[in-house]
Each structure stands twice: as structure tokens, then as C-alpha cells.
Symmetry: none
Subunit: 220 residues, 2 copies
DNA sequence: CAAAAGTATGACGGTTTCGTGACAATCGGA
DNA sequence: TCCGATTGTCACGAAACCGTCATACTTTTG
């Protein structure tokens, strides 16, 4: 946790309060120092004041954003909608108005971390009520096993491993069939057969969708 | 966007304001209705009041959290630290106190969406409320998918990858079409079609702007 | 102010792309 | 060997898409 705040009293009290809550805190009095400290040793979260001498808070936020996607919370005395919008647009994740209740601050920090961490989670092969288990060689739809042929299964696994990404017919041909060329219609046919088995309405697919002109993708 | 709020006047004004900002909005007057609406057709974001008849806001948040990790924003008249902490602990991502400035609300929604989507494992180029995902073959405007054709999509990706830079028609022709010569008017036509789909007022574009005599660029 | 250059847009025919049913070849277990 | 399951090919209709052109509009130039 990195606190960037020019007012000595507030910086100190914030630091102490956060340390009381169990955070490891470093502090800086200017945007320049704060950015330098962050670059030297990136913090997991940054608290920043808006009114700073030299580079102001907005610049500081933009600087941090350029370096990474660390969660940024603004703590400012200014409660004008304009400032709030500007700070959020600059890349902040939250904005609190001084004086802050330490309990609210920590609750907001937890919410933000939960959200930020969710992004780092391992990709899963669960898609709503469809489960794909590449190793077990099985596919469950609403808990019920689905009987897929080998080709259909490998096709689905390939799509599942790149969930949300479009795979072109060429990519699928080379990865599922190990053809480096060949009729792309082949892919269509097997996509169609796969849909018959795992879509509720094969006519209007909701899981295996086609990206016209690009290929197919599996939605989560 | 799903709005859950029991007060008719507030629900209506929130809905209208958000629609003015370009969001597609559904509304519910009770937590039960809201949860049912969400389960039937999950929204990309949920706005929820705390004081609701029957199931209250906290239950509503927990119910939504059980179903998924949709971004949840609380809008409440209660400005007590206790309520804020409780709502965030229940799983909300942000908490605004009524009356809310619509500009602040939309700025917070954008910030939250940016954060929530960062975890989607698909790299995203963000331009205000426009998100471009080259790998997913997908473009979102205020969270709603936009149906682009392959050419429009490639054109937008090319512009997005050079955000702010002017690209000449020749450059676009060679990169998007792989023509090393050809009629430059072709680019105009597709820029026009693209604008129809991603500009609020296609007549006065704010995202895809023309640099007269030079080409086009995408503003961030 | 008129002409020229540059840009926007609607319409239209030809082309591409997609989904599907039919069918023959191939595979694999009994 | 036999037979059903699986696979790859083909052809066709429907829908979506693309590029061209003509025209109208806007900005710059002379």
C-alpha cells in the first residue's frame, strides 16, 4: 500500500490507521516521490491525494496507469462532481471525500481488491452450465454427461481453452485436425454437429457462436 | 444495465438519465423482480437501492453475487459508514449517496467496468465507453456488444491500435484490405458504415474523426 | 463569390460466407 | 466379417457483405 499525500498530518494519520488495519504502508509527500517509489517497488494499491505540489494528482494517476493496472483510490477534500469524474477518467478506481471514515476506506479497498484479484484467477473450463474436462475426456451439460465424438470433443476443447477468443477455421483445422490446409467447410459441419448436442436451440446458438468472416468462439 | 429501486420517481429518473447517456436499461421495483430479471437475462451491471420492500438491498446483493461476478453499484439515501461497509462486504463494488450526479455515476460505472473487464483475460483497448477486443472479435459500446462486419471490425482495430494517430487512406487500404493501390473512396464508405454503428450522432462523429486531407483517427 | 477539392451517404448488383442435408468412405468393436 | 458409428465431401439456398457509383454536402482555394 502506497500513500501519496502532501499534508503531513493527514499522511501520518492515514498511515497509522491503515497499519492498524494490518496493511503494510509506504508514504510519499509528492507525486514525483510517489511515482519513484512505485517504480522502484510496485505497491499492490495506491492511495493518492488530488492536490499535490508539482505534479498534481491527475498526473500522478495517469503516470501510475501508464505503468500498470494497480488499483488506485483517490482521497481528496474536493467534492465537486467535476473533480470526481476527472479523477476516474484519468484512471482512478474509487474516490473518497475527506475526512474519510477508516472503516469505509478499508471496506472499499477490500471490494476493489476482490475485483482486481478476480482478474488474475486461473482460466476455468466452466461455461455457465457447461463443463468441459479435457483430461477426463468428458463434457457435462447441466450436470449430465454429453456424448460427443472424438472430433467434436477436441473441437470443443480447443474452443474452451481459448474461451472468448475467436479461432479461425484455419486455426481450428490445424489444431484439431492437424491439417495445414483443407476445406474450411469441414469445420462448419462439425461445429454444426457439436451445436446439435450442446446447444439448447441449435438454430440460435448461445455458446458456440460464429464471428462472421472471422471464425468461431465459445462464450462463457 | 439493471436498475433495482422501489421508489417510482427515482427509478424513472435514473432510467431516463442512463438511457440519455446511451445505456440500455431494464428496471425492477423489488429485489425479487430484479433477481428474476437478472437470472432470465443477466445484465452487464446492476444498480441497486438498499431500502427495498421484502428482500432488502443486502440480500439482493448477496443473491446476485451467488450467481456471478456482475459489477454491482449501490445507490442509497443512507450515508452512514455502517451501511456503506455492510453493502461493500455483502459484495457491492461501489456505493453512491443520493442524490447522485449522473455524470459521477457514469464515470464510476466506466471505472468499474474497466476494472471488471481487465479480468476477462481478453486484452481490451478502451476509449471512454467504447471497448475494442481484437482477439475476441468483439466491440462493446457501454457494455453492449456492437455487431460489426469483418471489414468494419478490422478497420476499427487498426484505428484503435494507433489511437490518436491519423492514418491515411492508403495506410488503411494496405493494412485492412491488403490492397497496395485502389480507390480511396472505399475507405470513406466503410468509415461511414462504422460510424453508423458506434457513433451516437453519426453526423457529427466524436470517436472516429476525419483529418481533412490526411485521413482518419480514433480519439480516446 | 464561384470553382475545385475533399468528404459523406444512399442505393444496388454481384459475391462471399454460412448452415445444412445427403451420401459415400472409413473406422472399430463384436 | 459384419454393422453401426463416425468422418469428410459436396452442393445448394439464404443471408450477409462488399465495392462501385451517383449524388449531395462541406471546406478550401483562387
Amino acid at each position: 500500500m502506497l500513500v501519496i499525500e502532501d499534508d503531513d498530518r493527514i499522511r501520518l494519520s492515514l498511515t497509522l490507521a491503515l497499519e492498524d488495519e494490518g496493511y503494510g504502508v509506504r508514504a510519499a509527500a509528492t507525486a514525483e516521490d510517489g511515482l519513484a517509489a512505485y517504480r522502484e517497488d510496485p505497491a499492490d494499491t495506491v492511495l493518492v491525494d488530488l492536490m499535490l505540489p508539482g505534479l498534481d494528482g491527475y498526473d500522478c494517476i495517469r503516470g501510475l496507469r501508464r505503468d500498470g493496472d494497480v488499483p488506485i483510490v483517490v482521497v481528496s477534500a474536493r467534492n465537486d462532481t467535476h473533480d470526481i469524474v476527472a479523477a476516474l477518467e484519468a484512471g482512478a478506481d474509487d474516490y473518497l471525500i475527506k475526512p474519510v471514515a477508516i472503516k469505509e476506506l478499508t471496506a472499499r479497498l477490500r471490494a476493489l481488491r476482490r475485483r482486481a484479484r478476480a482478474g488474475a484467477s486461473v482460466p476455468t473450463l466452466t461455461f455457465g452450465d457447461l463443463e468441459v474436462r479435457p483430461l477426463a475426456g468428458e463434457v457435462l451439460l447441466r450436470g449430465e454427461p454429453v456424448a460427443l465424438t472424438r472430433t467434436e470433443f477436441r473441437l470443443l476443447c480447443e474452443l474452451a481453452e481459448h474461451q472468448g477468443q475467436v479461432l479461425s477455421r484455419q486455426q481450428l483445422l490445424s489444431r484439431v485436425w492437424e491439417y495445414d490446409f483443407g476445406d474450411e467447410r469441414l469445420v462448419d459441419v462439425h461445429i454444426g454437429r457439436l451445436r446439435q448436442k450442446i446447444e439448447d436451440e441449435p438454430g440460435t446458438p448461445r455458446r458456440v457462436v460464429t464471428a462472421r468472416g472471422l471464425g468461431y468462439k465459445l462464450l462463457r
